[in-house]
Each structure stands twice: as structure tokens, then as C-alpha cells.
Assembly symmetry: D3
Homo-oligomer: 189 residues x 6
């Protein structure tokens, strides 16, 4: 576990961590080879850590018609609008890994408009980007465009929720200068 602070804020982890948190962090280390810094950052307050991980796990890993890759693609294009170093690094790596296409991950970080995407995925990302840049301009026509690409109303909720979630985390990360674990950078290149 990093001895460096994961953010510019002096908010040390609860010490000792409660047993369930310790166990959760051990699972992360086993599966990912690291405890993502965002979890270490939230661990100054176990309630906040738990509400964050509950929402994250529901949105990114729970039941949805959106594939895990699609949800990660939304995470990256939202974070690209907001130029969030933490989220672009962590979720750019996830796109490279889940897609098996390192260039796709890079393209979404740099400019998703030049990626070669099927129209359905492009429509999904356009909605996520519009929602990020100018949510006050979303109207029924935007929802109709998604429906025309085969998305259900539940899918629209999920797209909006994932896009919304990263608009939150991008800001928590930027406000606190959260730093991604260095290991992400070389992953799945």
C-alpha cells in the first residue's frame, strides 16, 4: 500500500482499517495488483468509502444491458471532456484491457470523435458528452435518438447514471489532486 498520500489533502486513512475494509483492499490487491488510490483517498472515512464503492459497484459492475466495456468507454469520454488525470488514466487502462484494443483506449482519451465506432456506441458516447458539456440542452429529441439506436429507457438511465457518476468523480479527483497508481500507465499497451 502506498505510503505517499493519494491526494493533496491531508486526510490519512483510518488506522487500523476495519476488518471488512481490509478484506476488500486485499481482494483489490489480489485481482488488480493494487488498491486503487481512489479507495485509499476515501478511506479516511469508512462510511464515505462504503457509499462510494456501493454506487461504483452497482453502476460499473452491476446488472445492465450496457457491457462493462461500454460503461468504461462512457467513463473515458466524460473524463476527457473534464480532462481528469485520475479517471482518464484508470479507465483508459480499463478500455484498453477490456477491448483488447490499445489504440481504442488512446483514441477515446484524445478525441473519441475520430474513433471507428459502430453508430450505436457513437450515439451513446455523444449523449454522454452532451450531458457532460451542456446538460441544460438535453431534450426529448436526444432521448429519441438513443431509442432509435435500440436503447431502452432503462439503458438511457444507465448511460446517464454512469456519465453523471464520472462527472462527480472527475470533480472530486480534480479538487483533491488525486493521483492514479503508476501501474495503470503501462497496462494493456
Amino acid at each position: 500500500m502506498a505510503t505517499e498520500q493519494p491526494t493533496a489533502l491531508d486526510l490519512p486513512m483510518v488506522d487500523p482499517l476495519p476488518a471488512p475494509t481490509r478484506k476488500y483492499f486485499d481482494v483489490c490487491t489480489d485481482k488488480l495488483g493494487m488498491v486503487p488510490n481512489v479507495l485509499q483517498a476515501y478511506a479516511f472515512d469508512i462510511d464515505k468509502l462504503n457509499t462510494f464503492t456501493a454506487m461504483y459497484n452497482d453502476l460499473m459492475l452491476g446488472d445492465s444491458n450496457l457491457t462493462k466495456l461500454e460503461r468504461e468507454m462512457i467513463a473515458v469520454v466524460v473524463s476527457a471532456v473534464n480532462r481528469c488525470f485520475y479517471c482518464l488514466t484508470a479507465h483508459g487502462a480499463a478500455v484498453r484491457d477490456l477491448s483488447g484494443d490499445p489504440v481504442l483506449g488512446e483514441t477515446l482519451v484524445m478525441n473519441y470523435r475520430v474513433a471507428r465506432l459502430e453508430p450505436r456506441v457513437r450515439a451513446m458516447l455523444d449523449f454522454a458528452v452532451k450531458l457532460t458539456e451542456a446538460c441544460e440542452t438535453i431534450e426529448e429529441k436526444d432521448r429519441e435518438d438513443l431509442r432509435a439506436h435500440g436503447f431502452s429507457d432503462r439503458d438511457i438511465w444507465d448511460i446517464a447514471s454512469v456519465a453523471g457518476f464520472f462527472n462527480m468523480t472527475n470533480r472530486v479527483a480534480s479538487a483533491s489532486d488525486m493521483r492514479p497508481n503508476d501501474d495503470y500507465h503501462a497496462q494493456a499497451r
Copy 2:
């Protein structure tokens, strides 16, 4: 309880609601005179409702050096940037109510820069607005400005978390055309 859908998405509430949800909604009705539409909107999926309310309650009602009014003020100025009808309505009412100052609530909805605020509160709202409009430009200097107004690192985390949270909910509300309960409009005028 409204029979109208709270959003433009066809996502009916689980029926029947599980007992704990029913009880939670009854508490809302007792205390607020209504079940806020956002809760009804999320109630198509009880897990999503629960992760949302857990995070909301931790941020807006949990322990913090920020007063409840200060957190509601952040909610309003963030939602004003994003021009979110739902959140401006619901949290504008909360500011009017908690402050006992109806004009303050209106001013924050319209243009917080012309409100007569103490410098500490103004600095807090400036940070929330900058984080909303241009989070990629936040730097150590911005955190130093907050510290100079007496905010601790924990306070900065809380300001960022509340501002981030409303950047999420503004987008979920806009994407789904979420409608506030009509009762809010006349409250605390």
C-alpha cells in the same frame, strides 16, 4: 404519491415496494409532506435507490463542519451553472427554508455573485462553481484560497463532494427530464 411519472423515462416503481422503502417513503411524507420525485424516479430499482439515498444522506445530512445550509447553497450554485430545473427547485426551496431568507434562495438561483455573502461562504461557492465549470483548472492555489478562509482539508473534501454530487444528479435529472414536486415552488416564500 404522484400517479404521473416523475421522469420522461418509462421506468415504473417496483410494485409493491419492499417494506423498508415503503417505510422510508412514509417518513418522507410525514416530514416533508411529499415523497421527493427523485426518490420515486430511482425506485424502479431498489439497489440504485439505496445507493443514491445512502450517498445523499451521508453528504447532505451526515457529519461535516459545513452546515446544512452551506451544503444546500453549494447544491444551488452548482445547479445554477448546469441550469437543472429539478435541483434548483428542490434545493432553492431548502435554502429559502433553512436560511429563513427567501431572497437569498432566489439570488443563488439567479446569480450567486450578487448575493451579499460573508467572504468565507463566497470563497466556498466560488470553488464549487469553478469546480463545476472548469474542473481541469483547479490547482493547489485554489485549495490554498479555501484554507486561507479557514477551511480544513476535510472541509475541502466535503465541499468538493457536495459539488461533485450535484454535478452527477443535475445530469441524471436533465437526461431523464426529472420534474420536481410542484409543492416546492411555493415553499418558504
Copy 3:
């Protein structure tokens, strides 16, 4: 009459006011229950007050195919783009009052795009907003869109004139920190 200055500029009203101005202010008090602060602000120079009221009365109360409510709706959406506290307060109250629909007034202040409007009114407000945000991009196509909704060339002039007028007053109000009379806030809720 307020003893407080209506703006941040030290420009006291002519004292004594000339008889016609006094009479005009008495009419305001009779009909509105107040002398709007904008009139008090201009009353440091009776010529300026008179040219302002002449133009205001011609545009907002004179002959036009646009109803008085429609003109007030334009006033509000323009002032919402410019986040003008004075004009949003005074003309938001007018929309609530003239429409008998308090929620409509609130919605136009917050985000007119989510208001339930007939297409003709929406086209009128879209034109006013585009003219406010990016007048350099108005082209014949924009005028054709209005004509297709049944507006005559005279109507287009009137829409443009009202939108233009509030782009002026929003700036005079912002530049001088003009404060609306408190009475507006609770009106027609």
C-alpha cells in the same frame, strides 16, 4: 419610496422630482404597489428616465401582435442567459402573474428548454436566446423559422426589439448592481 439607493452608484434622484415624474411615480405606486427601483435608478436625470420609460412602454405595453405575456417571457429568457438578478426578479414575477402559472415563471428563470411550451412560443424564445448568446450567427434561415411558425416580419422586429432591449437593461443593471424591490419575490407564487 425606498431610502436605500437602488444601485451601487451614488446617483441620487433629482430632488424635488418634477411634477410629471412625481405623478408617474404615483401611478406606479397605485397600480404596482411600488415604484420599481429601475425608475428610481434612472431618476438622477429626468431626460434619461424619460427616454427609458418611453422605449419601455412602447416595447412592453404598446401595440404589437405579441401578447404582453409573450413579451415578458422574452424578457425572462434573455435575462436568464445574462443571469440578471434585477430583470429575472421583476419579469419573472410578471410571467407568474400574467400567466397565472407560477411554475412557468420559475421554469423560464431556471431553464426555458424544459418548459412545456407550444412550438410557436418555443420558436420565439429560441430566437431570442440565440440572438442573446450569439447574434453574429443569425441568418435568413432563423427568420424563415419564425415565419414558418406564423410570425410576420413586424413580429420578428418586435421579438428582436424586446430581446435587444433586455440585453441593454441586463447590462445597465449588472453594471450598477441594481436591486429589485423586495416585493417582487413573493408575488404570484
Copy 4:
């Protein structure tokens, strides 16, 4: 007098013009060598023409500590932000003429920031431009900056009123595709 319409709107002049208007237009022809198209455009309705000219003449030709050239400079920098062809042409010519410095007129049309201006004038134009681009951000500090350059509160009102007025006329001109008289282009080069 032009036989061409001065705008893209089919709003012919009252015919015959009332005697005072005819006389006013004759004065224009004598002094300027033309009837400015803006006056012809408004002449479909004599009341509107009269309220416009009354306000114009008060602001641009009436008593003020601002020189006529300074008022024209404000007109040009506001119109440059809004890229208004009519007002840049007519008032650009006025700046060239009143200043005796053709390059100054061109510079204000293109980018006032590169003009060699005394700090007092620059502060005045910066205020006018900020008021045009982002009036919602004007605060007491902006007024203090003007006062520090020797402007009185009355001067601030005048700067704001002229800047506001051209924010109105720029929009009426853009909305109607108003065309300046060709004669302006070659004047005072």
C-alpha cells in the same frame, strides 16, 4: 434616399413621412450626406423611430463627461464582440473621423487589445467588453477599477448605458440583417 430595403424584413417606411421626420431626415442628409439606414429601418413606425432617436441622441450626443469619441469607441468595441456589421461600419467610421486616426478605427474593429490607448481609456473599454461578454460577472471590484482611473459614478452609468445600448442595437441589426449605407466604408480612411 435608398430605394432598397435597409433590412431583410419587409417593413416599408410610413409614406408619406410626417413633417417632423421628413425634416429630421433632411438634417441628416445635410450633415452626414445620407439618412443612416437604421433610421430608415425604424421609420415603419414613427413612435419607435422617435424613442430610438431620443435615446440615441441622449446617450451619444447629450451631456456627459465622456467625449463623443470615447462613446464611439465603446460602440465599436461592443459591436466587435458581437460582430455586428452595421454598427462596426457606421461607428468605425465615426471613430476614424472623430479621432483623425484611421488606424485607431481599424484597430478597435479588429482587436482593441492591441491599440495603443491611455490606461484610462483602456479601462473604460475593458469594462464595456466585460459587460458585453459576461455581464453576470461584474462586481464592485470592476466599478472600483473604473473609479481608480478617475471615473465618477455618473461616468460609470454612462459607460454602462452606451455599452448596453449597443448590445441592444447590435441585436436589432443582426436580427433584421440591417445593412449600413455604403458611404461609410470609404469615409475618413
Copy 5:
């Protein structure tokens, strides 16, 4: 040759100039009546001057289906977006001269959208402006629009190269406060 520095940077011309440069400057004086200040500005380093003039001459004077006037029109609309005093002055004069239409030159400087242009030229300028304002949003559809107006792929390259070139020179000119020769202002009025 001007004794004043052509920019705000203290970078005097190589002295004496090498013979080929001297000859090139003499040709300029013969043909244009001046040595454009941009050439004097680059002449502190003859290699830089030569790579600049080689690219300039290839793009603006070399073989292309675009006429010289069309290339100058692109130069002006790009420079208008960037508000570049040097390039608007020099290339505005070129448009006035090559077109024999002084008003056209003025219109492109002020707001090309109100110029009366054939659709093919308008499409070309729209592409150049979009490329200048938001190049990250250019997609195949934008190229298809140009092809639909009869432009070949080579023409698209040329439009992009000229637009790109002035996006470069606008920035070199702004960064160095480059001043156009005064003679341009009165030309071809």
C-alpha cells in the same frame, strides 16, 4: 525600410542582409510598395524567413484550384476568428484589391456570415471557420459537404492548409505584437 521594430520582440534583422534576401525585399518594394513587416520580423534568422516564405508562396501563390482571392478570403475569415490585427489588415487589403469590392473585404473582417456569397464559397469559408474554432469536431460529414459543393480532395487539402497556415501566423503575430505596415489601411478603399 522601417526603422521601427515590426514586433514587440527585440530581434533585429540580420545586417547586412544576404544578397538573395536583399533582392527579394527589393522585389517586394517594387511590386507592393513596401516590404511587409512579417518578412522584416522573420529576417532576424534567414533560415526561418526562407522556410516561412517558401510555405507562404506555395500556399498562397502556387498551383491550386482555389483562386488567389479565395485563398485570401480564407486568410481573412480565419484571422477574424482569431482577431489578428496584422493578418486582418494585410489580407483584408488583399481581398479588397483582388475582388475589386471594398465592402466584401470589410464584411469578411467584421462577420463573414452576412456577406453575400455563392454557396460554394460560403461552404469553403464555413469549413475554414469550423476548423479554426473547433477542429476536434471535424468529421467525414464536413468533408462530404465540401465535396457536394464540387471541391475535390485536393481542394479540401488546400483549404485546410491555408486555414491551418493562418492559424499559425495569427499566433506568431499575436505573440510578438506584430504590426502591419500602415500603407495597407488605405489601400483599395
Copy 6:
């Protein structure tokens, strides 16, 4: 050499390439392991290729007080503003390679403001970004800021020229949908 077209424009390379071009491409293959697609894209016209490479080589490889790494850093931050996939890919790789710091390259692509940079380098990049985003606002104060960090007037010219150059190439690349060689992506990770 790629058989695929390097851009979306149908502009095949001159065939056969002239001997000097062939030799230049062979040098690229020897030193870089590839012929960068930008060179292949320009090779439909050897004069254009030569003026491009002459300027590129002068700016990026010629004499300057700026190190090659510093020039590549400018290339990346400019291209990040413009979200240019080609230039971010190629010059991001160059920063990773020249700095020996893969995270630095990633950070500049994503958000240079969070990179840990010495103040002199940060000032250089801030100038390049301001010049890219809003060149019309550059004034003497901006040049003074660079001088205060030890940059000479010649250095300012070089910073502006490199920033200007990538504002050009970003637009040529975006307009033509130029694709970087795939090899860049995995380099120096």
C-alpha cells in the same frame, strides 16, 4: 510503407517518389522504424512535402535555446487543446521517449496543469496554451511573464513559432483525418 491511405483524402503519393524523397524516407525508416504518416500524407506533392519538412526541421530540430523535449512538450499541450489524435499520439510518444518519463507524456496529453513541472517550463506551456485558446488576448504582460522566467525575446519567438506550427498541423490533421502510425502507441511506455 503503409499501403493504407494515411488520411481520409484520396491523395496518393507521387509514384515513383523522386530520389531525394526516397532517400529521406529511408532515413526515417532507419532512425524511427517507420515513415511518419504525415510525411506520406504530404507526399502527393513534393513541393508541399519539402516546405513542410523544412519548417518542421528548423523548428523542432534546429538551433534554439529550447531543448528538443521542451519543444515536444509545447507540441503536446497545444495538440491537447485542439484534441488532435495524430499529433498527441506522435508527440506524446516523443515526450515519453525524450524525457524517459512515460507518466509525464501521459499527463501532458491529459491535463498539463497537474504535471509536476518547474515554474519556467510551466510558464512556457501556459503561454503556448493561452496562445492556442485565445491568441487575441496576448499582451505585453504575457511576454513580460516569460522574460521574468528567464526567456529571451528569441526564446519567446521560438515558443510562439512551435505553438503556432502545431496549431497549423493540428488543423491539417483534423481536416484530413490523418492517422498516426500504430507503432507510436506502445513506444516508451
